[in-house]
C-alpha cells in the first residue's frame, strides 16, 4: 500500500505521521491517533457522527482521506473543552438534556459549533432543523438537540459580547 507522511495541526498540536494513502480521516483519527470521540455509524456520509472541523469548517471525516488533512488544522471533539472547562456548546447539551445514548453527540456538537460560528443569524426552529439535516440522532427526537443549539448560540453570543473571542 502506498504510504506518505502528513503534517497537520490536531487540536492545537502539530502532528507528523506516516499514513496509507487510502486511509480515511475518520479511521486515522480513531485508530492511529486513538481519539475515539469521533464516531462512525455509516459508510455513506449520511449520519454525521464522524463530524470534525477542518480549518473551522464542519466536515464528515468518513468522506475525507487522511492525506487531505495535510497542511490543515483539524479539531475533534476532544479539542473542544479547555482542560476541565467545557465548551459552551458542550455545557448547553448537558443543561438541556440534548443527548441520550451520546453516540451521535460529538458529531452534533461539532456541526453545531461550526454553524454557530458561520451563521450566527440562524435562530428559527425550522432553519436550525434544516441546518442539522446531516446529522442523525435515533434517541432524542431532536427537540432537545435544537434547544441545546439555541442555548449554545446564546451563550456564545454572550461570550463574544464579553471578550470578543470566537467562543
Amino acid at each position: 500500500m502506498p504510504e506518505g507522511t502528513i503534517r497537520f495541526t490536531l487540536n492545537g498540536r502539530f502532528v507528523e505521521l506516516p499514513v496509507a494513502h487510502h486511509r480515511l480521516l475518520r479511521d486515522f483519527i480513531r485508530e492511529e491517533l486513538g481519539l475515539t470521540g469521533t464516531k462512525g455509524a455509516c459508510e455513506d456520509g449520511m449520519c454525521g457522527s464522524c463530524t470534525v472541523h477542518l480549518d473551522g469548517l464542519a466536515v464528515k471525516s468518513c468522506l475525507l482521506l487522511a492525506v487531505e488533512a495535510d497542511g490543515h488544522e483539524i479539531t475533534t471533539i476532544e479539542g473542544m473543552a479547555r482542560g476541565d472547562e467545557l465548551h459552551p456548546i458542550q455545557q448547553a447539551f448537558i443543561d438541556n438534556f440534548g443527548f441520550q445514548c451520546g453516540y451521535c453527540t460529538p458529531g452534533f456538537i461539532m456541526t453545531a459549533a461550526a454553524l454557530i460560528w458561520d451563521h450566527p443569524e440562524l435562530e428559527g426552529e425550522r432553519e436550525i432543523r434544516e441546518a442539522l439535516v446531516g446529522n442523525i440522532c435515533r434517541c432524542t427526537g431532536y427537540t432537545r438537540i435544537v434547544a441545546s443549539y439555541v442555548d449554545a448560540a446564546r451563550r456564545m453570543r454572550d461570550l463574544d459580547g464579553k471578550d470578543g473571542s470566537d467562543g
Binding site: 447539551f93 453516540y103 427526537g141
Partner: protein, 810 residues
C-alpha cells in the same frame, strides 16, 4: 410541565421528581465515553463475518484456504467448527445456529475471518470460498403457510410447516357478541419491517485467559447476564468463568438482546488465537443481518351496536418472524393482549401464528407488538366511526374504560388500578385545539386522535420464563462513598442518574457520593437486564429495597452511638441525626466503625461489610391457555393527536403539530422522562412515514444503508415539548409507583399519523409505511370513485348486518 396529580401522596425524598444533571453527561459530550468499538487491548485482532448472498441455500462446501494464505489473516472459523455447538435463540425456540448449517436469509453468517487489522479481515471475506446449492425461497408469510411452500426448518421440534408458534386469545362471549351486533365491520391491516437502527452498531471484544480458563466479553448489549448464560450454555462453561461487561451502549431499543454470532465468534477466535479479538458490525450488516420489528397482517372484525359500542373483537394475525423466531412468539402474545387497548370489550378472539420466511429475523423492537396492534385498532376505529357517522373522538369516548369503573379487570384479565384515559383525551384535545382544527383545517389537512394502553414495566408471558427479576447491590465503603451495581443496562435512558436519585433519597447523601456500575456480571447481581420499559420499576424497586436494608443497619449502629431509638433518626446531608435535635453522626464515621471498630459497635455486633443486595420480581401473572391473565405489573395509557398536511402532488406527509398526554406514574426525572417520550415518538413517525426493509424477489435487501433506509432527520420531526403532557397516576399496589415509559412514545405514533391522513384525504391507508406512492394512489382512487370530495374508500370495509337479535341489556 402540565402535570396533574391523580392521587396526591408523598413518597420518596428531595431528588425524586427533579431533573438533576445526567451523571454521564461530561463523558458523553467530551467524547471520552468508551463504547465497545472504542476499546482496544494489546495484541488485539479484528474479526469480520462472511455472509451469505443467497436467501435460501444448502451449503455444499466452505473452503477457507485462499483466505488463510492472505497477508494478515490469522484464522477462519467455518460452519464445521461450530456444528457440534447447540443452537441459540433470544426466545424459547432454539432454532439459530451460530454459523449457517443451511442458509435461511441473505446476510446470514457463514464464516468468520480473523486478521491483524480490520482492513485485512475485510479484504479476505471474498477469499473464503462458499459453494451454495440454491433452494426455492418464500418471502410472503401467507405463501409460507401454504402446503407446498419451501420449508425453512424441517424437522425442528414444535414447528409445523413454517409455523413456529400459535397464540390464541379467546375470552368472553365473542360468538354471542357477533350474533347480537347491529353490524360487523372487517378490514385487513399490514405493518412493515422497520429496523431499530441504533447509532452504535453491534460490537464485541473478547479476551480469553488461558491460565485462568476464563473469558471476558465487552459487548454492546441490553442483557449482560442473559448473554453470559447463553455463552455458558453454548460453550459448556460454568457461569463463574465468563464475565460479560457492558461499556457505554449507543442505543439499543430491543435490538441488542440475547447472544449474537459475532459475540460467540469473538470468544472462539480469542480462545483459538490466544489474543483478544474484536468485531464491529458495519451499518450494512446491521440492516441485513440483525433483527427488525415483526411485520403483521391483521384481519380485524369488530361487532358493533349502531351507537358505536364495541361488543366484540375478532382477529387473525399472521406474523412474519423471518428466518429465526427470536422473540417473535412473545411479540405476538403481548400484541394480542393489548389488542383492544384502553377500551371496554366484552369479548375478544384473536388467533395468531408466527411464520418463518427467508428474510432476516424479526424480534424485539421498542413497543414489541403494541405499535402494530395500536395501528390496526385505532385506524379500524376511525373506519367504524366514519361508517356509523360518529365523530372519531366521540366514538372513542363511548368505548374507553371510564375512571368511575376503576379499579377494573379487562375481558382478558388485565387488572387496571389506574387508567386516566379520559383525562388524557381531554388534555390532548385541549393542547392541540381539536375543535379549532376541525373547524378551520384546509383541504388535505387532517387530524388523528388515538389512544393506547401499554405495559408500564414488568411483564410475564410464558411459564417457561416466569421470573421477571432484577437486582441491585449497594455498598457503603469505609470512607463513606457509595457504589451501586445492577444488571440494568443503560443505552441512553440515563439509568445511572435515575438510580442515584432513588438511592440518594433513601440514604440522605449527595448524588456526587454515589457511583453506579451497570451490567458487569462479576460485579452486578443477577437479573434480566433492560427491556420492556422495566428498569425504573424493576431495578428501581430492587435498589430501593437494598438501600432500605443498608439504612436500617446504619441506623442500628447510629442509634447506639447517639443513644436514640433508630425510629427517631433521619438521614440527610451525609449525616444521621436525631430528629429535632443537633445530635448527629456522619455516615462515613458509622461506616468506618462498622468496618474497623468492634468496640464502637452495639453489643453482639461484629465488624463487617456494608453491602446489601436485593431483588424484585414483579407480581404479574402468566396468562392461561385462553390468554386470560394480568401479564404486566402495571399499565400506562396515553392519548395522542397528530395534525398533518398531505401534498396531493407529491404524496408527502408533513406533520404540522403533535400533542399527547401520557400516564407516567410517579416521575423520577422529568427531563429524561420527556426525552424517552420524544425519542419514541420520533421513531414512531419513522415507522409511519417510510422506514421499512425492502427485498427483491431473490430475498436481497434493497435498502441496507442509511442513504436508502430513511430514518427521520431533524426537519421531519416537529417540535415536541410543551404539548407533551404527563399525568402522574399513582398505582397504590405498586411499591414505588413509578411506571416505565420507554415504549410509550413509539406505540401510538404511526396510528395517529394514519388516522390523520385518513382525515386529510378521506381514504384509509391500511398498510405501513404511509409512503408517498400509497398516498398518491389513495388520493387518485378517491378522485376516480367520487368526483366531489365527499368520497368513499376504494377498498371499503366489509360491512354486514348481523343476524340482528337485540342484545339483552347489560
Amino acid at each position: 410541565m402540565g402535570r396533574t396529580q391523580v392521587l396526591p401522596e408523598e413518597r420518596g425524598g428531595e431528588l425524586i421528581g427533579t431533573s438533576i444533571p445526567n451523571v454521564d453527561g461530561v463523558a458523553l459530550v467530551t467524547g471520552r465515553a468508551r463504547f465497545t468499538g472504542d476499546l482496544t487491548l494489546p495484541g488485539m485482532a479484528h474479526g469480520r463475518i462472511v455472509r451469505s448472498p443467497q436467501a435460501h441455500a444448502r451449503i455444499v462446501r466452505v473452503d477457507p484456504s485462499e483466505a488463510l494464505r492472505m497477508d494478515g489473516v490469522l484464522d477462519v472459523i467455518v460452519p464445521d467448527d461450530v456444528a457440534e455447538l447447540p443452537r441459540v435463540s433470544t426466545g424459547l425456540i432454539l432454532d439459530m445456529p451460530l454459523l449457517a448449517d443451511k442458509v435461511r436469509y441473505a446476510g446470514e453468517p457463514v464464516a468468520a475471518v480473523i486478521a491483524v487489522s480490520d482492513e485485512a479481515a475485510e479484504g479476505a471475506l471474498d477469499a473464503v470460498f462458499v459453494e451454495y446449492e440454491e433452494l426455492p425461497i418464500v418471502l410472503d408469510p401467507e405463501m409460507a403457510l401454504g402446503p407446498d411452500a419451501p420449508q425453512l426448518h424441517e424437522g425442528l421440534d414444535g414447528v409445523e410447516g413454517n409455523v413456529c408458534w400459535r397464540q390464541r386469545t379467546n375470552v368472553g362471549d365473542v360468538d354471542g357478541a357477533f350474533r347480537h351486533a347491529d353490524l360487523l365491520i372487517s378490514r385487513r391491516f399490514r405493518t412493515s419491517k422497520p429496523h431499530a437502527m441504533p447509532m452504535e452498531t453491534h460490537a464485541a471484544l473478547a479476551q480469553w485467559d488461558e491460565v485462568e480458563g476464563t473469558v471476558t466479553l465487552w459487548t454492546s448489549t441490553q442483557q449482560t447476564h442473559l448473554v453470559r448464560n447463553a455463552i455458558c450454555r453454548v460453550f459448556g462453561l460454568p457461569q463463574n468463568r465468563v464475565r460479560v461487561i457492558k461499556p457505554f451502549v449507543g442505543g439499543a431499543f430491543g435490538h441488542k438482546e440475547g447472544l449474537h454470532t459475532h459475540e460467540a465468534m469473538a470468544i472462539m477466535a480469542s480462545r483459538r488465537l490466544g489474543r483478544p479479538v474484536r468485531f464491529v458490525l458495519t451499518r450494512r450488516e446491521e440492516f441485513t443481518s440483525t433483527v427488525s420489528r415483526n411485520p403483521q397482517i391483521r384481519d380485524v372484525e369488530v361487532a358493533l351496536r349502531r351507537d358505536g359500542t364495541v361488543l366484540g373483537w375478532r382477529e387473525r394475525i399472521v406474523q412474519d418472524v423471518g428466518a429465526y423466531s427470536g422473540l417473535g412468539p412473545s411479540v405476538l402474545a403481548l400484541s394480542e393482549w393489548v389488542t383492544v387497548g384502553p377500551y371496554r370489550t366484552p369479548g375478544l378472539d384473536i388467533d395468531g401464528v408466527c411464520v418463518y420466511t427467508n428474510k432476516p429475523p424479526a424480534s424485539a423492537f421498542r413497543g414489541f407488538g403494541n405499535p402494530q396492534a395500536t395501528f390496526a385498532r385505532e385506524l379500524m376505529f376511525d373506519i367504524c366511526a366514519r361508517e356509523l357517522g360518529i365523530d372519531p373522538v366521540e366514538f372513542r369516548r363511548r368505548n374507553v374504560i371510564r375512571s368511575e369503573d376503576l379499579p377494573t379487570e379487562t375481558a382478558n384479565g388485565l387488572k387496571l388500578q389506574t387508567l386516566p384515559i379520559e383525562e388524557a383525551m381531554k388534555a390532548t384535545l385541549d393542547a392541540i385545539g381539536y375543535g379549532d382544527i376541525k373547524r378551520s383545517k384546509r383541504p388535505f389537512q387532517g387530524i388523528g386522535v388515538v389512544n393506547m394502553i401499554e405495559w408500564g414495566g414488568g411483564c410475564r408471558w410464558h411459564a417457561a420464563w416466569d421470573s421477571d427479576m432484577s437486582s441491585a447491590t449497594v455498598t457503603l465503603n469505609a470512607d463513606g462513598s457509595l457504589l451501586i451495581a445492577t444488571d440494568a443496562a443503560d443505552s441512553g435512558q440515563g439509568h445511572a442518574t435515575m438510580l442515584i436519585q432513588i438511592a440518594a433519597d433513601v440514604l440522605g447523601v449527595s448524588p456526587s457520593e454515589i457511583r453506579v456500575i451497570l451490567g458487569d456480571t462479576e460485579v452486578s447481581p443477577y437479573g434480566l437486564g433492560t427491556y420492556g420499559s422495566r428498569t425504573a420499576v424493576v431495578h428501581g424497586t430492587a435498589l430501593q429495597r437494598a438501600c432500605i436494608q443498608l439504612r436500617d443497619r446504619l441506623l442500628e449502629v447510629a442509634g447506639e452511638k447517639l443513644e436514640a431509638d433508630p425510629q427517631d433518626l433521619e438521614l440527610s446531608g451525609g449525616q444521621i441525626r436525631v430528629r429535632g435535635s443537633d445530635r448527629a453522626i456522619g455516615l462515613a464515621d458509622v461506616a468506618a466503625m462498622i468496618h474497623f471498630s468492634r468496640g464502637d459497635l452495639p453489643g453482639g455486633m461484629e465488624p463487617g461489610v456494608l453491602s446489601t443486595t436485593a431483588s424484585y420480581d414483579t407480581p404479574c401473572d402468566v396468562p392461561d391457555e385462553r390468554g386470560y391473565g394480568n401479564f404486566a405489573a402495571n399499565y400506562t395509557c396515553s392519548c395522542t393527536a397528530a395534525f398533518v398536511e398531505v401534498d396531493p402532488s407529491t404524496g408527502k406527509i408533513s406533520i404540522l403539530d403533535w400533542a399527547s398526554a401520557e400516564d407516567v406514574g410517579r416521575v423520577i426525572h422529568p427531563d429524561m422522562l420527556k426525552g424517552q417520550i420524544q425519542g419514541g415518538i420520533a421513531q414512531g413517525i419513522g415507522f409511519a412515514l417510510g422506514e421499512d426493509l425492502i427485498f427483491d424477489e431473490a430475498g436481497t435487501m434493497l435498502n441496507s444503508s442509511i442513504v436508502d433506509y430513511q430514518v427521520p432527520t431533524a426537519p421531519i420531526i416537529p417540535r415536541m415539548e410543551e404539548k407533551l403532557l404527563e399525568i402522574e397516576s399513582l398505582d397504590p399496589t405498586h411499591p414505588l409507583q413509578h411506571k416505565g415509559i420507554g415504549e410509550s412514545g413509539i406505540t401510538p405514533a404511526a396510528a395517529a399519523i394514519a388516522c390523520a391522513v385518513y382525515d386529510a384525504i378521506g381514504v384509509a391507508i391500511t398498510s405501513l409505511p404511509l409512503s408517498p406512492e400509497k398516498v398518491l394512489d389513495a388520493i387518485d382512487s378517491r378522485l376516480q370513485a367520487a368526483p366531489h370530495p365527499g368520497m368513499r374508500d376504494r377498498d371499503p370495509p366489509r360491512v354486514r348486518p348481523s343476524d340482528a337479535q337485540p342484545l339483552p341489556e347489560e
